[in-house]
């Protein structure tokens, strides 16, 4: 990587964004458009990563990294697969009730890993689909097909069914055992799921389900910052990749005189403050080294390091300040905060690149880095390969910071507008 200290912020971001964008080009199966969960051999497709990739193509077109025709072709390939793949109650199909299984076989497109029919991952897939519908607005045959197919697929999703017997949406469903035993509790990334479900013209969720879900929110003062608490950073980011929450408020945010965008800013302050305090005594933690979120981790057997017993998790949703925290940060999570707190993120990224050049040898960031757990060559432990969700959120959030492309695009998306209004959002760009 060139000397990042001599680069302008925009040049640095351009490099990191383009490298992350490259994941979508290499991890896709060109036959069906599905995108792999990780770059590791044998990785299945993640439908959420596939949703991120659909929006990444638009960024690629905007940045000149991909021809519009190529993006259209890739999008059409995927939409044709989604239209033609089998839906039903059988355990080895692609989806059911318009939803898709969390993990699909990259070749056959059928359910794999005994995964669940994932409602939130389907929502992320459809965020990608709807962004493509909004972006490809020309009167060509192909772009018309994209819009019509996307609309048809979205209309097919039975969001009402996803509640089961409850008021709120469940976490998933399995053909072997029905609905998963738990719903969503507390603030989390499901806000986009609710917005899309409320905005559906065919199976709209009742507005009281959003009220019920937000009744589990917790407005909390931690380290002197008042914010809607959630431990892992990705919760404060994922829905924001598509929806511009700045200036719009639902009932909860009106009551506490905040909005979700500002809330994420505060969550970043708390993350940074936690890293500075570093109660766990982890190596590296500080004002320029944070990003405690879902990430890959060292795993393995417990170790005693520096007189302290350490347990390391593998891939897990890490959180702060209540844990779990094993000293692993996700640099992609930190970088994706740029749209909210560039003043923190840009100096931190430069410092990160200086301290851990091995993590940026291809400009693409790994999914986890842990300096407390040393590798055999006494370097900080680093996750092998790349994870699609991390690369996707980096591409989208840098773009929102640089041009606001996706936020502007999705403001025009009817399901987003309707869903937000039905959830009680008012003000700002919603009018």
């Amino acid at each position: 990587m060139p000397d990042e200290g001599a680069q302008s912020d925009d040049a640095l971001l351009d490099r990191l964004q383009r490298a992350a964008f490259g994941y979508c080009l290499t991890a896709v199966n060109p036959e069906n458009g599905l995108v792999a969960d990780t770059s590791r051999p044998g990785s299945p497709c993640s439908i959420a990563v596939t949703g991120f990739a659909l929006t990444c193509y638009l960024v690629g077109v905007k940045r000149g990294w991909m021809q519009r025709d190529a993006a259209v072709a890739r999008t059409l390939t995927l939409l044709r697969f989604l239209l033609s793949s089998e839906q039903g109650e059988q355990p080895d199909v692609t989806g059911y009730q318009g939803f898709y299984y969390h993990f699909l076989d990259m070749q056959t497109g059928r359910r794999t890993w005994q995964s669940e029919l994932s409602f939130v991952d389907t929502a992320l897939l459809f965020a990608g689909v709807l962004s493509a519908c909004a972006f490809f607005d020309r009167d060509s045959q192909d772009e018309r097909v994209i819009r019509d197919s996307g609309d048809w697929l979205y209309r097919r999703v039975n969001w009402q069914w996803a509640r089961g017997a409850a008021t709120t949406i469940r976490q998933g469903w399995k053909p072997e055992g029905g609905f998963l035993n738990s719903g969503w509790n507390g603030y989390d990334e499901a806000i986009i799921l609710y917005v899309l479900a409320l905005g559906s013209p065919t199976y709209p969720l009742k507005a009281d389900s959003f009220t019920e879900w937000t009744s589990t929110y917790q407005w909390e003062n931690i380290y002197g910052h008042n914010f809607l608490y959630a431990g892992p950073l990705f919760i404060h980011q994922f829905s924001h990749a598509w929806i511009d929450f700045a200036g719009i408020q639902d009932r909860f945010m009106r009551e506490v005189k905040c909005d979700y965008f500002e809330n994420t800013r505060r969550a970043i302050h708390v993350q940074r403050e936690y890293a500075r305090r570093n109660p766990g005594g982890f190596s590296g933690y500080g004002k320029d080294f944070w990003g405690i979120t879902a990430s890959d981790g060292p795993g393995g057997i417990p170790l005693v390091i520096g007189g302290r017993a350490r347990n390391f998790a593998g891939y897990a949703a890490r959180g702060m300040p209540f844990g779990p925290d094993d000293g692993t940060i996700n640099p992609c999570g930190m970088l994706a905060c740029v749209a909210f707190a560039a003043d923190f993120v840009l100096p931190a990224m430069r410092q990160f690149a200086a301290n851990y050049p091995e993590a940026l040898c291809s400009d693409r960031l790994p999914s986890g880095l842990n300096p407390t757990a040393r590798s055999k060559d006494n370097r900080a432990w680093m996750s092998d390969g790349y994870f699609g969700l991390d690369q996707g959120i980096v591409v989208l959030m840098i773009e929102n910071y640089r041009s606001g492309l996706i936020w502007q695009l999705m403001r025009r998306c009817p399901p987003i507008q309707v869903g937000l209004r039905r959830a009680g959002f008012t003000g700002g760009w919603l009018g």
């Binding site: 305090r277 209540f322 779990p324």
Partner: protein, 520 residues
């Protein structure tokens, strides 16, 4: 009232003899009933003992009936025993972790489980002295041993004697529910309580159901060296607790080595030689674990069946227990109930508080409401979880605007010096006011710390006043003061600081004017 036990014998360890001399003397002779009792209390657990002593102090003629052992589950079937064992287990954990305290520990830690059990029995015997049978007699309480059975709305029979009463109080408590698992009965798994009579720590222990007591036991036995597995059907760890509290305790249990399987049911148990093989099901898949001992902690059933409540006209349910109103009256207004047998929160101190309230309602004019009490409770894992008042979800469900002020224990000096940084103090206040709605403390000594907040809530003291209370430094309870300081800081940031700033500006101007006048 604990489960009927065989008459205590004299063949256990010496501490057991001392204990039985206190809580069920073998040579005890029931008194001869004379006239009508002002109050008959059924069950000599913590609630029954509190009620009968309170009634005697008020000058009432009071009878106390116990079918097994004085002290109930608190002394004889879990509470005291686990706390004693938890302390020993914590000592072993600290020895293993000596380095982090700047101390040198032994090369290898040798655990003596029999020594831990002997200490536990000593403590049990010692605590049983307070409410021994002779002491109760000295307190002018007529103590009857035997099964109580109502004959009519104002008569109860015990060991062949018929007691007439003006008022009665049922505090018979609960017993562990027997899990309905195929093969469990056939596997010869002994009841949970007998684990406190065993002198050998099981090498592999399966705890079915991850309630508070299950988690306490899991951590303690793990620290004694057992491989402990918790299997629970609920997808959330400690589902009734705040998620962050459960997360901190989950981290601690994982670090100690407890294996937790959530969303998992035990579908079958079979015996193979000396070991038990439990088949566990998770999301449609099954797997087997081999263990030496099984504890089922799936809940508790009220002790109501043998009381012949129908004859007394007392309404009840086999699952939720005796039905009471806010004054703890049953459907027979002569008869009251308190404690585990009728309340959702099954803790010894809840039984004591409710029994005291019921006794006063039964004997004196005036109605005290149970709902007026705000009662804390604590789970004695390490760190402990203590809670009082409303949870955030409860406040929001009641449309009460609520905010939480959180102080992390790693920001509290004494917690840092003690190496006890895990946890937090969360105080839930009504938005725009300093009124404390509830609080959760997760800390090594959370059970001690919650009492300060209990005092504040029950005395109507708000955060503003709490912030003016000087706390000793350094103490872990300072976390409560720090939360109050956050409130005060925000208050001064938001409005009144305009006044203070104006005042200070005026003072500065006055100071300058005076200085100028002094110039020659």
């Amino acid at each position: 009232m604990s489960e009927p036990a065989s008459q205590p014998g004299r063949h256990g360890p010496p501490q057991a003899d001392a204990l039985h001399d206190n809580n069920h003397p073998p040579a005890w002779r029931n008194p001869t009933p004379v006239g009508t009792y002002d109050l008959v209390v059924i069950g000599a657990g913590p609630g029954g003992l509190t009620a009968s002593r309170e009634a005697a102090r008020l000058g009432a003629r009071v009878a106390l009936i116990e079918r097994s052992l004085i002290g109930g589950a608190k002394l004889n079937a879990g509470c005291v025993q686990t706390k004693a064992l938890i302390r020993t287990a914590r000592a072993y954990a600290e020895i293993r972790d000596a380095k982090s305290y700047g101390a040198v520990g032994p090369d290898a830690v040798h655990v003596s489980y029999p020594a831990a059990m002997a200490r536990m029995r000593d403590i049990q015997a010692r605590l049983s002295r307070t409410d021994s049978a002779p002491r109760l007699r000295e307190a002018r309480i007529d103590l009857y041993f035997g099964e109580a059975r109502f004959l009519s709305p104002d008569q109860v029979e015990v060991a062949g004697d018929v007691l007439h009463f003006r008022k009665a109080l049922i505090v018979t408590g609960t017993r562990p529910q027997v899990a309905d698992i195929p093969g469990l009965a056939e596997s010869g798994t002994p009841p949970n309580e007998t684990i406190f009579d065993e002198n050998e720590c099981p090498a592999r222990l399966l705890i079915i159901g991850g309630g508070p007591l299950g988690c306490e036991m899991a951590q303690a036995f793990c620290r004694f060296g057992a491989h402990v597995i918790i299997a629970q059907s609920d997808p959330m760890f400690l589902p009734k607790e705040e998620r962050d509290a459960a997360q901190v305790v989950s981290n601690a249990l994982a670090r100690d080595g407890v294996e937790v399987h959530l969303n998992t049911t035990v579908v079958n148990i079979r015996t193979k030689g000396d070991e038990k093989i439990a088949e566990l099901a998770y999301e449609g898949r099954t797997f087997a674990v081999s263990v030496d001992r099984i504890i089922t902690g799936i809940g508790r059933s009220p002790n109501v069946e043998s009381l012949n409540l129908d004859a007394a006209g007392v309404g009840y349910d086999l699952v939720s227990g005796i039905t009471v109103d806010d004054f703890l009256r049953t459907s027979n207004h002569r008869i009251y109930a308190a404690g585990d047998v009728c309340l959702e929160h099954k803790y010894a101190h809840v039984a004591e508080a409710s029994a005291r309230l019921a006794t006063r309602n039964a004997l004196l004019a005036g109605g005290r409401r149970l709902s007026a009490l705000t009662i804390p409770w604590c789970t004695y894992t390490d760190p402990e979880i203590a809670h009082i008042g409303l949870y955030v979800r409860e406040a929001r469900q009641r449309a009460i605007p609520v905010r939480t002020i959180t102080i992390l224990m790693h920001d509290v000096d004494r917690a840092v010096t003690d190496g006890e940084e895990e946890g937090f103090v969360k105080i839930h206040v009504r938005q725009g006011t300093d009124r404390i709605l509830g609080a959760t403390v997760v800390a090594r000594h959370a059970g001690e710390m919650i009492n300060g907040l209990s005092l504040a809530i029950n005395s109507g003291i708000g955060l503003r006043a709490l912030g003016r209370v000087v706390h000793a430094y350094p103490t872990q309870a300072e976390a409560i003061k720090m939360a109050a300081d956050v409130y005060r800081r925000e208050l001064f940031m938001s409005g009144p600081n305009v006044i203070t700033r104006a005042w200070l500006a005026l003072s500065r101007a006055a100071h300058r004017w005076l200085q100028q006048r002094r110039l020659p």
